[in-house]
């Protein structure tokens, strides 16, 4: 049997492996498959539940949030200074956040790689060096362009507005096979079309003997004579799935792949970061904002692919526009008003279009240990990033009005619908950070990669400077924000690191 549930295991647990991997998401699953296919005995430990595609495919959005999202979707980064509180969406399940993304795949932009080479001390990260890894990953997860026939009316309208202003949108690529346009990507694909790692990479790992243990909470990495020797933790088999009996996995190599929020916690608990003091710092979030627009015509934006179009025309201003849609409850949640005013707005859901914009942020987030299992995360938005928010809102509102929208709903707390005339006079530049509605799905950078052990946590292959034999292979090592969805970057960097690890094991 390949999949085991720590939540139902009785008594303590002790396992031996060649490699133990903490986390079964984008980084962990790829690493597990590469190493298992190279002949290693692999154990994957996942804190969350194992929810199968058959189960999550029929869940409502809120049921899926409860079953598969970290903190049931209530994770946030506390804004410091003139910064918003940011709702950060992450997975806690077998498959990790890859089961919850829209499947959008972008290669790392060339100008970002240039910054890594010139500013982050990573001269090896050229497009030529990464090309074979990107190509292999795109084949493995079936990256394909979203066809025009699958674009939602919401995306088509926004494209019409953008085109009218001289900026036609471009098609998005996603890791899908047989998508039917159910628009439920963030809440569990009902058709198994989205090739999240639970469908793509984990089966490759288990086919070669890897064991995947769900509901296992790793406390720390153990070490002997200054080298990683395994992990210890607790099974979530207590009352109410609280931490219960202990487990130990002995392994000469440990891979931490618990994501940007939890990899630093595990690293710190294992003594990593004392010298560099970088663990948990340098968090980037791609602060994201949704702009809704009301049309007289029915839009029914839930019909079609969730995300199909984007624009990078403003990438050098640090802004990327990305298609999106939201379930009716989430749409209604952000409509202004109480009572009849709210209900009347909710009855217009079928007439709403939605599009998103994200900011390629400088960073400013920190992960702190806190009581309980979740960290306290703070985020101080850089002044340059804050200054991008008002132009982003105006740009997207102008596009919606160019498309024929009657009013737009900006992500400003307490602000009702805005007409074109009202938009001209609104002092958006003066909106305080705390009054912005902001979300994030791309936490990165808290165990960043580099070649200088005083300013980075892991080397170019993901090995911890301060604990040989311990690797971090997930979004926490990505050294800067990307300005585009990071899934493909994370998985490709994982593929690269895992192949190197497999090669060094062979030697």
């Amino acid at each position: 049997m390949s999949f085991h549930d720590g939540g139902t295991h009785r008594g303590p647990l002790e396992l031996d492996a060649d490699v133990v991997i903490i986390g079964s998401g984008a980084g962990g699953a790829v690493t597990a498959a590469v190493l298992a296919e190279a002949g290693a005995r692999v154990v994957v430990l996942e804190e969350g539940r194992h929810v199968t595609p058959q189960e999550y495919g029929v869940m409502t959005p809120s049921q899926q949030m409860r079953a598969m999202w970290r903190d049931a979707g209530l994770t946030f980064a506390l804004g410091l200074g003139d910064s918003p509180v940011i709702n950060v969406m992450m997975g806690k399940c077998v498959g990790g956040s890859s089961a919850l993304t829209g499947g959008v795949c972008f290669r790392t932009p060339g100008w970002v790689l240039k910054a890594w080479r010139e500013e982050r001390g990573l001269p090896m990260f050229t497009e030529a060096h990464l090309e074979p890894y990107f190509a292999e990953m795109e084949r493995a997860i079936h990256v394909e362009e979203v066809p025009a026939s699958m674009r939602s009316r919401s995306s088509v309208l926004f494209d019409a507005g953008a085109t009218a202003l001289g900026h036609p949108l471009k098609p998005i690529h996603r890791n899908t096979k047989g998508c039917e346009g159910n628009s439920k990507c963030n809440f569990g694909c009902p058709k198994g079309a989205k090739q999240s790692v639970d469908l793509s990479w984990l089966p490759r790992a288990t086919a070669k003997g890897a064991q995947v243990w769900s509901r296992c909470l790793v406390d720390r990495v153990t070490h002997v004579d200054g080298r990683a020797s395994g992990v210890v933790g607790r099974l979530l088999n207590g009352d109410g799935h609280a931490p219960g009996t202990s487990f130990t996995v002995h392994a000469k190599q440990v891979v931490i792949a618990a994501g940007a929020y939890h990899s630093p916690l595990i690293a710190k608990a294992s003594g990593i970061g004392r010298a560099s003091k970088q663990v948990g710092r340098n968090l980037t979030l791609h602060p994201s904002f949704r702009i809704m627009a009301r049309f007289d015509e029915p839009v029914e934006g839930w019909k079609g692919a969730l995300q199909s179009l984007y624009s990078d025309d403003w990438e050098h201003d640090g802004i990327t526009l990305l298609g999106m849609f939201l379930p009716p409850g989430v749409l209604a949640a952000t409509m202004p008003g109480i009572g009849q005013a709210h209900v009347a707005r909710a009855q217009q859901l079928a007439h709403l279009g939605v599009f998103g914009g994200l900011i390629h942020d400088e960073g400013g987030g920190t992960v702190h240990r806190a009581p309980g299992r979740e960290p306290l995360v703070t985020y101080r938005m850089d002044k340059k990033d804050k200054a991008k928010v008002a132009p982003l809102m105006r740009l997207m509102a102008d596009i919606w009005f160019a498309a024929g929208a009657k009013e737009v709903f900006l992500p400003v707390l307490g602000l009702g619908g805005v007409t074109p005339d009202r938009l001209k006079s609104l002092p958006l530049e003066q909106v305080k950070g705390r009054d912005l509605e902001c979300g994030s799905q791309h936490p990165l950078g808290t165990c960043r990669m580099g070649t200088d052990q005083h300013s980075a946590v892991v080397d170019e292959w993901g090995e911890c400077f301060e604990l040989p034999g311990c690797f971090i292979i997930d979004g926490s090592v990505v050294p800067t924000s990307l300005g585009v969805n990071p899934q493909l970057t994370i998985m490709t960097m994982a593929l690269r690191s895992a192949r190197h690890l497999a090669e060094t094991r062979r030697q």
């Binding site: 029929v58 869940m59 409502t60 959005p61 809120s62 049921q63 949030m65 409860r66 079953a67 970290r70 903190d71 049931a72 979707g73 209530l74 994770t75 946030f76 509180v85 039917e180 346009g181 159910n182 628009s183 439920k184 809440f187 009902p190 109410g240 029914e300 839930w302 019909k303 379930p327 009716p328 409850g329 989430v330 749409l331 209604a332 949640a333 952000t334 202004p336 008003g337 109480i338 009572g339 009849q340 005013a341 709210h342 209900v343 909710a346 009855q347 859901l349 079928a350 806190a370 009581p371 309980g372 299992r373 979740e374 306290l376 707390l413 307490g414 705390r434 009054d435 509605e437």
Partner: protein, 127 residues
């Protein structure tokens, strides 16, 4: 806490005909209790704190005495509206957001708002 949350929900989703049916509110409260039972410590505390902050402060915006659940429905609507339009909108929106995510999954509500797309799935309405 659920009593305060229900008072908020009855006002938020009310129409001139009154609050939503009691059975629908019962279902919503069961779902919200389940939701909070799986949230982490910080998330749950933040949500519960928001509920109490709104319950205490919203009536003051409508020139009434706390708590929200002691007010008549229309006064609750007025108080919450004024707080949502104020500098203290954040806790109102936090509670409203998570209740709405669940509420609009109810099949009757989806029909009322005209969403009968493929993202609608059968759900258990009885305890």
């Amino acid at each position: 806490m659920l009593m305060h949350l229900r008072a908020f929900a009855e006002a938020l989703f009310s129409t001139p005909a009154g609050p939503p049916p009691a059975s629908r509110m019962d279902w919503l409260m069961r779902e919200m209790a389940d939701y909070l039972s799986v949230a982490g410590t910080l998330g749950r505390l933040s949500f519960v704190l928001s509920v109490y902050v709104v319950s205490f402060l919203a009536p003051l915006f409508g020139r009434h005495l706390p708590m929200l659940r002691s007010l008549e429905l229309q006064d609750r609507v007025e108080s919450l509206t004024k707080m949502e339009e104020s500098f203290l909108a954040a806790p109102v929106l936090a509670v409203k957001a998570f209740m709405s995510v669940v509420y609009y999954e109810h099949p009757e509500v989806q029909r009322e708002v005209g969403h009968v797309g493929p993202a609608t799935f059968p759900m258990r309405l009885e305890p």
